[in-house]
Symmetry: C2
Subunit: 336 residues, 2 copies
Amino acid sequence: MPKTVLSLLLALVPVALLAQGKADVLLHRDGAPPRWAIAIHGGAGVIPKTMPEATKREYFQSLAAALKAGQDVLAGGGTSLDAVEKVVRTLEDDPRFNAGKGAVYTHDGRHELDAAIMRGKDLACGSVAAVTTVKNPISLARLVMEKSPHVFLAGGGAEAFADSMKVPRVPNSYFDTDLRFQQLQEELKKERGEGPGNPDPKHGTVGAVALDVHGDLAAATSTGGLTNKRFGRIGDVPIIGAGTYANNRTCAISSTGFGEQFIRHSVSHDISALMEYRGLTLQQAADEVIHKKLNPGDGGIIGVAHDGSIALVFNSEGMFRGAADSGGRFEVKIWE
Amino acid sequence: MPKTVLSLLLALVPVALLAQGKADVLLHRDGAPPRWAIAIHGGAGVIPKTMPEATKREYFQSLAAALKAGQDVLAGGGTSLDAVEKVVRTLEDDPRFNAGKGAVYTHDGRHELDAAIMRGKDLACGSVAAVTTVKNPISLARLVMEKSPHVFLAGGGAEAFADSMKVPRVPNSYFDTDLRFQQLQEELKKERGEGPGNPDPKHGTVGAVALDVHGDLAAATSTGGLTNKRFGRIGDVPIIGAGTYANNRTCAISSTGFGEQFIRHSVSHDISALMEYRGLTLQQAADEVIHKKLNPGDGGIIGVAHDGSIALVFNSEGMFRGAADSGGRFEVKIWE
C-alpha cells in the first residue's frame, strides 16, 4: 500500500473514535487529529553487515511483525501500555532475539530472564529478574505492577508470584535454541583459552516505547541477559531509570547494550531529566547521553516523547529497530 | 570539648596532611582548608516520641559511634568510599537498625539483605540483593564494584560470589533479634485478621554519604528490607539512582523509606539531576523531590554536595540521622 494511502487510513482512525464519543482522546492544539507513535528494538551491538540476505530479510520481517502488532493496538485507540506489552511479547516469542524463546544461556546452561514495564501517567512500574519458567516475562512484570504492592521481584520469589498469578509456564528448556547454545560454547571455550569467544556477548534485549491517542506514554524491555552470565547478575533492563523509564511529562525510553554502563549512568532517567530540567528535545537529550556520556559501542535507546517525536539513538555498529506513527511512518532498520 | 576548640583541631588536620606533601588534597578557591563532610541515617518512619529515655539515649549513642567512625576516616585524610563503608558496617553490626545484625524477618522467618555502594569520581558502583549469610553486605557490594565486571548480583549468585571473595560469613540465624521476631509475629497476626500489625513495616535502612578532602563523594546504603516480605521483593536500596547515588558533579545520596516510591521517582538520581540541570542547591533539590514529588510519610534522604553542604530531608515523623563536617559540626537527631 502506498505510504500516503496508509497514512490517510491511519489518520481516519482517531476521527472515527472521536465520532464514537471517546472524549478522552486528545486533540492537538493545532486541531490536528490525535497522534500516536511507537518505537521498538531487538538489541544493539556488533551486527555483521555480511549476514546472508535471507537472514536480513527474516530480521526485517520479525521487526515489522512486532511493530505492526503495536501499531494495531495504538491505531485502534488502545493504550500505550497494551501496545508495548504486545510488541515485547511478540519479540519474546520470536527465537531471533535475546528475550523469551531464544534467550541466551547462563554459565550453567540454563536461562534466566529479566523484564520491566512502566506507565508514564502515574509512574507505576513492575520488574522481574532471573525468572526461569515464565513464557512471557514482560507480562509477569505487568502483573507485578498491577497486582502486587511491589515493583521488583526476583528469582524464586518471582516464580512463586507467577504461581499465584497463573501465567503461562514452560520448562526452562523451552527457551533453548541452537544458535544461543553455540554462543555459550564459544564463550566457554574462550574461558578455557581455546578461542576468541562470541564477538559481542554483552548485547541483546528487546523493547518498545509508545505514545497513545490518550496522551499516555509507556515503556517495556525484556532480555535473557548476558551469554555465560553467572553469580545472579542483574543488568539494566529491570532497573527503573536505567534500562526502562516512562513519564508523561517527558518521554518513554527502553535501552539496549552494556547493562552495567546503563546502570552507572541512569541512562533512561537522565534523558528524561535533561528534557524536563534543561528543556532539551528527546533527540537532543538522547544524543547527549548516548554520544557524550557513554563510551562508543555501549549500545543505544529508543524513545518516544510526549509530543509524539521518536528517537532511535545508538553508538554501536547497529541496532535492530523500528518506528511507526499516526503520520504514516512505518520503518524497520538495522544499520546506519 | 567546646565546639570551637574541636573545630580548630579538625581544621588543622588537612593542613598537616598538606605539610606531608599529599598534593591531591584540594584547597578551596577561597584558600580555606580542605573540607570534608559526612551524613548518616538509621532509617525513617513512624518513630514514637514516647520511647523510653534510656532507649533514646542508646539510639543517640549508636548514631554518634557510627558518625565518629566515619569522621575519623575523613579527618585522617581517608577516602569517602572508606568512610561510608565503615559507617554502614558499624550500623550493620548494631542490632538496633534494620541492616545486618538486627535485620527484619521475611515471611518465611529468615533474613534477606540488600546493599549498594557508589563512588562519585567515576560512577563505579556495586549492589547485592537477597544475600543471607554475608555478615556485612555493604562490603560485599564494594567487592562487586571493585572485583567483578558487574554492578548488581542477587540471591544464590551473590552468595557464590561471596564464596570466591572469602568475606566473613555467618549462619542466617546470626541476624536474629527478639524485637524483629516480635514484629514479624505482629505482621503475621495482621494477615490472619488478628491484630493491627506493626505500625510502620515499610521503613528501616542504614546509610552514609560523604565528601573527602580529595574532593570525592561516595554513598552507601544497607537494609534488611520489609518485615514479612516475600516473593523475592527487591526495594530501592540496591537500585542505583533510586536508593543510592553518588556523582562528583553534584552530590551523594542515600535514601530510606517506602522503597517502591523511591524507585518510581528515581529519587537519588533526580536530586542530582535537579542540581546539575536546573542549578538548584542540594537542599533545594532534596526539598523539591521529598516534599513535592513524594507523598507525606514516604521517608527521606541524606545528602552531601560537592561543596560540602549537607541535607537531611524527610517527610516522615522522624529519621535517625547524624551529620559532621570539617567546620566542627557533629550532631545526631531523631525528630524535628
